[in-house]
Symmetry: C2
Subunit: 305 residues, 2 copies
């Protein structure tokens, strides 16, 4: 009952557009023949607005196009329409600081796996107040668990396509929560580290900042990309290379990145403790500071307020 009331309040502060039209969130519905509903046959992006500007919007739109390519989506809805509706949704929300979800499905079709049955897309955009993560996450780090659920194989459903098939991640987070952890780290079928359920993973080992390559089976995060550029600009020692579980446990610092969370330190993975505040993690503290600076100086290309 409490969850239901909480969800009802949640909807009241949510703005939804479907195919160019605004709906109250509690009446925002999609056909049960939409392939996103039937098969998870959809792609999406989660980005955010700060001070009335969408951050890294071109990066997100480019990744959406890349997901479409990987899944062989025909784009009946143009990229310009997608951008327009995204900005319109944020404008309508009136939120200076916002979370934005863009969902593009392969549209409605007969109940048939064959994607050639589709003839249009459905575009759903959802704006909400940007989630505020607890300050402790940034100061004291989070607790992750290395779960038994392995990441989808790159040859089965490529994790680099940001799609509506998220059961793999749902199972992983469920396993982590059952351990009392904040979230999960997943390995691939060869036992190499990939990513979390909604974030990329990084370690600092003997002074080198390391994150695994896309080929390990993970999503090319926008924060990952921009942080890598920043690290190169700063001339810091770094590498994109395979990470084994043993590397996690011999690392001095571990952190995660995502568009909505930016950089969050990891205080613990299962029984391994990395420390309990940023004073133990000089590299992370420096990157958090530098990344915040980077965001402040972002070109204000996409204004929605």
């Amino acid at each position: 009952m409490e969850k239901e009331q909480d969800f009802s309040r949640y909807l009241q502060e949510t703005t939804v557009f479907i195919n160019g039209e605004n709906f109250p969130a509690k009446e925002a519905r999609i056909s049960v023949f939409d392939r996103g509903f039937l098969f998870g046959d959809s792609i999406y992006e989660a980005c955010y607005g700060e001070d009335g500007f969408i951050l890294f919007f071109d990066d997100h739109i480019n990744r959406l196009k890349h997901s479409a390519k990987l899944l062989k989506f025909t784009l009946y809805t143009s990229v310009e329409e997608i951008k327009k509706q995204a900005i319109q949704t944020l404008s309508k929300s009136g939120l200076k600081s916002a979370y934005l979800r863009i969902i593009l499905t392969r549209g409605e079709s007969k109940i048939s796996l064959d994607p050639n049955q589709a003839f249009k897309n459905n575009l759903v955009t959802i704006a909400r107040p940007k989630p505020v993560y607890p300050k402790e996450y940034y100061l004291n780090g989070v607790y992750l668990s290395l779960v038994n659920t392995i990441r989808n194989d790159i040859r089965a459903v490529d994790p680099n396509a940001k799609s509506g098939n998220y059961l793999n991640n749902v199972m992983a987070i469920e396993e982590a929560k059952a351990q009392g952890a904040y979230d999960a780290i997943m390995l691939n079928s060869e036992g190499k580290v990939t990513e979390g359920t909604t974030f990329n993973l990084w370690i600092v080992k003997n002074g080198k900042i390391i994150t695994p390559p896309i080929e390990s089976g993970l999503l090319a995060g926008i924060t990952r990309k921009n942080l890598l550029i920043l690290i190169k600009t700063l001339g810091l020692n770094h590498a994109i290379e395979e990470i084994h579980p043993a590397d996690l446990f011999s690392a001095q610092e571990v952190f995660i990145t995502s568009s909505t969370r930016k950089i969050i330190p990891v205080a613990r993975i299962d029984d391994k403790i990395y420390g309990d505040n940023t004073s133990h993690w000089p590299t992370i503290a420096n990157l958090m500071h530098r990344f915040d600076e980077l965001i402040q100086t972002q070109p204000a290309e996409y204004k929605y307020l």
Copy 2:
């Protein structure tokens, strides 16, 4: 335009119930916050009615319960309610020969992977005229392709849970169609044969009928199950064992099974030809005949007309 008109006609002959309520198919919609839409966080069954009776209904309901268990779904909607709505949908359709899809989602929630955010289920049932497969499929067999898309790993998203995460299969059928094939056969990450996109696979090699074990990473088909019982009853030489690609190409007969298709012979896999009519496939011809007999003598437990 033609696909759209075709789909519009399709909807006119489709009956939909959502959470106990009947909707015209073109107005049957679900919240965009339904986890089935957001994450493919749903389970389903596809069964069929013949002469006004649902066939193997208990098997399908048991499998739905098994899928729920594998994905740790809380069943807020009782099994009795699910059965009731399924029968109601078929009754309303008035179809003697029907296809029935039962979709149960983890319900609506905040946009969060955490399944504990959910507080109810959504139940969608869809009835349609039973698809009529071309007679040639049964007489002359179909053409399959062994695709590069591998089946979801049992440790990532278990294919034995019949869920709303079907992109893996969508990618596989797309690959097969691009080859001009009817459908796909998928291997697991170890290179062993699993199943097709919506059917189980069988071979006949040196007089032995073989189908791969669930552990290879495949769905426990209802037709597979009932055909295995029939084969045992008939005392035919058979085995449930791993199948390698080489076995496919050295087999004398190959066939597929699914609830809606029953038994269909395979005439060709890529460049390997098995023959062009049932006279080449004595084992399959016998099983098709015997399975049809079995269906005729099914206990008429679930009458909907």
